[in-house]
């Protein structure tokens, strides 16, 4: 999942890099070889990896390629190929073409909204005295990109304003969740630059995971991307502050420095070997905006470094990965306890998948991977504080698909206490999962599919076994011996006018643990066997351009079979949108109901229930439509209602308010 997140982020980076195109270009390619004297089927032209054949015009001695758009400025390999009727392919021309940069270019876009509203009516029971009846709330999102010769500058900014600071950390009216400014020099020799602001480290490994902080990043790479280096300095904690740590963290105990280097030394086949080195050194708490931690005061710190080796073979059908890392880290708080302790971690992975050099075994595509990750008890990285440690993980996974059927199966074994300490309990988790998905190809114009939509079915079986030696019960304070089995089936249907899905899951836990006593007192009481049933239904209906309705329902029942406790939860609701006058007068309305019911087998325990009701209604009148550079304006009337009825009266409440206000908004981008 983390690897996929990393890939998603790099894909997004790829997306941004691909936004540039180029204006009209005419390229002449002369034949370097004469056409053979036999039946010619077609001539094709490739430039920069793109088949541009639809844009070519034959001449006596070559082709002319007239491109209205589609290729960025740069130098590309161009090929002209002849396809003959007898199957032969002849390269008629191989050359380099250069698409010149059109001097300087600038692109920018900006989107902003500011809403102001006043509370015109409210209930009598909620205390609004400390809350301003007027609220202003808005946001700005902007980015720009400028190229002038070899110099490329870029900037992006997202800012939020709220005079009531709702959901803001730190607690202030303005928040700056994302911003960055960068300048880079791009040439045939490579790219080098500097960025200031939010920096997202691309690696997902033992040292880094989901690491995005404010700071400074220096980077450089060659054109082939076979040499990449970066140096960074960032704040250790996440923040949205507009006043602190804008360019460099002010407190020394909130600073992290690091760098990465990646080299692919085999120029003929760079993927055959890639060597990487990483280093990170910093101090900080384990908290920040978006975090909740039990201890947000202790400061930890140390340095960590690692090496990686990646090798890809067999036409990308075999991937070998190995990483070794070490750290010297103080994980019980600076100036307390142990001081920095040394430890290490390593990971290896072997992944095979179908391709030209490995058989397909009758399926469309398959992938098999085996990996082992071992992290020492005291191995930490300031850029990956959530890394599971004192843990040995082994995993085997297989994925295959054929037609609309895909299979995913995985086995995993985890064990902690890797040094086998006598004063530490050893916990073992074994997991096996089997997931099947089937999306049949159907004719939506005939049969039942006309009415219910295009189907997709899922089912899975997962089993997890947790165990701990009985002799370790006093070391951990509890006994662990249980097996959890999960079964699920689901179906979803997609139609032009609606989509809906139904899913059911059953989780059964077989608890074989025993009570644990210490000094005459029971310090652990087994929960016993449990059963959980979860049913969910989701529907979206859009019968026409004006109306959308989306009901949802989720029903859950959890039973503790030993003590006859039963917990039921029902969440149901409907969300709707209706355009009284399309693009002019719109209504959003929703209502949600939650019912929670706890019933206990022990007659001395009180059964408890709670009902929740929430409703929202918003009427929006688009008074002025936004067009090109002209701002738009909406008037709105909002109402919100909430009620909670509880068997414990202290939790009851009923609250409602009505707000009247307007939004001014402006979105634009350069068009020249």
């Amino acid at each position: 999942m983390l690897v996929k997140s990393g890939r998603l982020l790099t894909s997004c980076g790829l997306l941004l890099c691909s936004l540039q195109g180029h204006a009209a270009e005419t390229i002449q390619l002369a034949f370097q070889q004469p056409l053979q004297d036999k039946a010619l089927e077609s001539i094709a032209v490739e430039i920069g990896g793109y088949d541009v054949t639809p844009f070519i015009e034959r001449t006596d001695d070559g082709v002319i390629v007239s491109l209205d758009s589609g290729l960025e400025a740069g130098t590309y390999q161009a090929y002209v190929l002849a396809f003959y009727s007898d199957g032969e392919i002849q390269t008629l021309s191989e050359s380099q073409v250069t698409i010149a940069a059109s001097g300087s270019s600038t692109q920018w876009n900006l989107n902003s909204t500011l809403s102001t509203q006043v509370r015109v009516a409210e209930d009598d029971t909620t205390d609004y005295r400390s809350v301003d009846h007027r609220q202003s709330n808005g946001a700005l999102s902007a980015d720009s990109d400028h190229r002038d010769g070899n110099i490329h500058t870029s900037a992006r900014l997202q800012a939020v304003y709220d005079n009531l600071h709702q959901g803001h950390y730190p607690d202030s009216e303005w928040q700056l969740p994302e911003y960055q400014a960068g300048i880079a020099h791009e040439s045939d020799a490579g790219t080098a630059g500097v960025q200031v602001g939010n920096y997202a480290h691309p690696n997902e490994d033992l040292l880094f995971s989901g690491y995005q902080r404010r700071g400074v990043n220096l980077f450089a790479n060659n054109p082939e991307q076979t040499l990449k280096a970066s140096l960074f300095g960032t704040a250790s904690e996440t923040t949205n502050s507009v006043e602190q740590d804008l360019f460099w963290p002010e407190k020394q105990n909130n600073q992290t420095l690091g760098g990465t280097l990646a080299v692919s030394p085999l120029t003929d086949n760079p993927e055959r070997l890639t060597l990487g080195a990483s280093y990170v050194d910093g101090k900080g708490t384990s908290t920040g905006s978006g975090f909740t931690v039990l201890d947000d005061e202790s400061i930890y710190g140390g340095h960590s470094w690692g090496f990686t080796l990646d090798s890809i073979w067999l036409n990308r059908s075999l991937w070998l990965h190995w990483q070794k890392a070490q750290s010297s880290f103080d994980s019980d708080g600076l100036d307390y306890g142990d001081g920095a302790l040394d430890d290490d971690a390593d990971k290896w992975l072997v992944q095979l998948n179908s391709g030209p050099d490995l058989p397909a075994f009758g399926v469309d595509q398959w992938q098999l991977s085996a990996q082992r990750q071992r992290v020492g008890e005291y191995f930490y990285s300031i850029a990956n504080l959530g890394l599971p440690g004192d843990l040995d993980t082994r995993q085997l996974a297989l994925y295959a698909n054929k037609g609309g059927l895909s299979l995913n199966t995985e086995g995993q074994h985890q064990q902690n206490n890797i040094e086998d300490r006598a004063d530490r309990a050893t916990l073992t988790v074994r997991y096996f999962g089997l997931d099947l998905n089937y999306t049949p190809g159907v004719d939506l114009q005939s049969g039942p599919w006309r009415y219910i939509g295009s189907p997709s079915y899922t089912t899975y079986y997962h089993v997890t076994r947790n165990s701990q030696p009985r002799s370790d019960v006093l070391l951990s304070g509890l006994d662990v011996d249980n097996t959890q089995r999960e079964y699920s089936v689901g179906a979803s249907f997609s139609h032009e006018r609606w989509s809906w899905g139904l899913n059911y899951a059953l989780v059964k836990t077989d608890d074989r643990s025993d009570p644990v006593e210490q000094n005459g007192f029971e310090i652990y009481t087994p929960v016993g066997d449990t059963e959980n049933h979860l049913t969910s239904l989701q529907l979206s209906w859009f019968p026409n351009e004006r109306l959308t309705l989306s009901p949802t329902l989720q029903w859950n029942q959890y039973k503790e079979l030993e003590n006859d406790n039963a917990y039921k939860t029902l969440n149901a609701g409907i969300d709707g949108q209706y355009a009284f006058i399309p693009n002019k007068l719109l209504m959003h309305v929703n209502y949600f109901y939650g019912h929670y019911d706890n019933r206990y087998g022990d007659p001395d325990s009180l059964d408890t229930q709670q009902d929740n009701h929430t409703g929202n209604l918003q009427l929006t009148w688009k008074a002025v439509e936004a067009k090109r550079l002209k701002p738009g304006m909406d008037w709105f009337l909002k109402g919100n209602y909430g009620r909670q009825d509880d068997t414990i009266d202290a939790n009851d409440y009923e609250s409602w308010q009505v707000r009247l206000g307007f939004s001014v908004y402006w979105a634009g981008y350069n068009e020249g």
Partner: protein, 381 residues
Amino acid sequence: MKKLIHTQLQRRLTSLALLLIGCCALLSNAAQAAVTSATGSSATSVLVANKNNNFTIRWQVTTTTNRFSREASVINLASPLTLNGVITPAGDITNESFSISGAQVKSWIDAGLSTIIIRRNFTDLSSAPAGGINADVRFSLSSSGLRATRESGAFAVQRLQLSFSNQTSLAVVEPGQELFGYLDVDFSGTGILEGYWQLSEPGGSDAAPLFRTLKLERQTLSSLQHLRLPSPRLPTGKTGKYLLRFCVIDRNTTDGNAFNCPDEGKVVTVAYQVLAAPLGQIEEMQLSADTQPIGPATPLHWSPVEHAVVYQLQIFQAAGNNAPTFVAGMLLPSSTPGTSLSTLVLDKLNPHQQYLWRINALDSQGRVIGQSEMTAMTYVP
């Protein structure tokens, strides 16, 4: 005869008297045992040795009369340790503050303890005889908050992080934009993670936010120490600020009223702001194939984009840990409603391997004015 009847009558009356005395005694004890239930819970589940531990225990005591507890003490030590003294809660629920030094926790760890139990015994009279109902709260011990996920054996959530796909805790999005939240949970031990995704909508997020439950999560923890959960797709239809939170429900430590989001320690909240209008710069396109997997003659289709002069089909492939790299593509005139993969492109694809592809619409300036999602496809000749 008379003497016999008298003796029998005396015996019967004695028995009846004894029976009546027993019933009275029984009724008297029942009146004294008016506390019917007592439980305790705390947002804190781990006590650490590297700092002072200041925490609150929430006692819930149900009684027909009044409430009294002589002391709160750690009971599973060799000698119980009294922490706090007498309390007489006025209502069903009372919060009591505790402070335990890090040095104290360290001494317990050094003594071989991994768990402590704080107990209060609740009765309804200060002079009641021994009895009453015990309310126990368990705490794991660890050398530090950071080490707790690795040291502690009991299931407990140590750290929560809630973010969006750009890894920030506050997102600005356009109306209708697809948005998900991601919850990273660091925990000790093993068990089932239970909690609620909850949302407060614009208008309902002002002043006193009104939250509704989006989804109940009950996740069997098949891996140790870390879990990542995606949220349901988040609504982005209305302009304004939404508040998103995840509330962890720990049935082992709650008072049973597990519906309400805990006040601290086990809830994490972020916000996202929806703008009033889309930028409209890039139109969302749909790229589809008549069949899957993709073959040499499989027809491909995409939704047309106004003012497009060129459609650019791009095919990428990821290898190892590297970002997806460009493999091949096609440039097609705007008059083309669809195509199949050309020979030049097919020549670059490996059979039975997975690729990522998308379609872009470019205007006369080369700007991308339409784009489909990057989706996976498998090529089989």
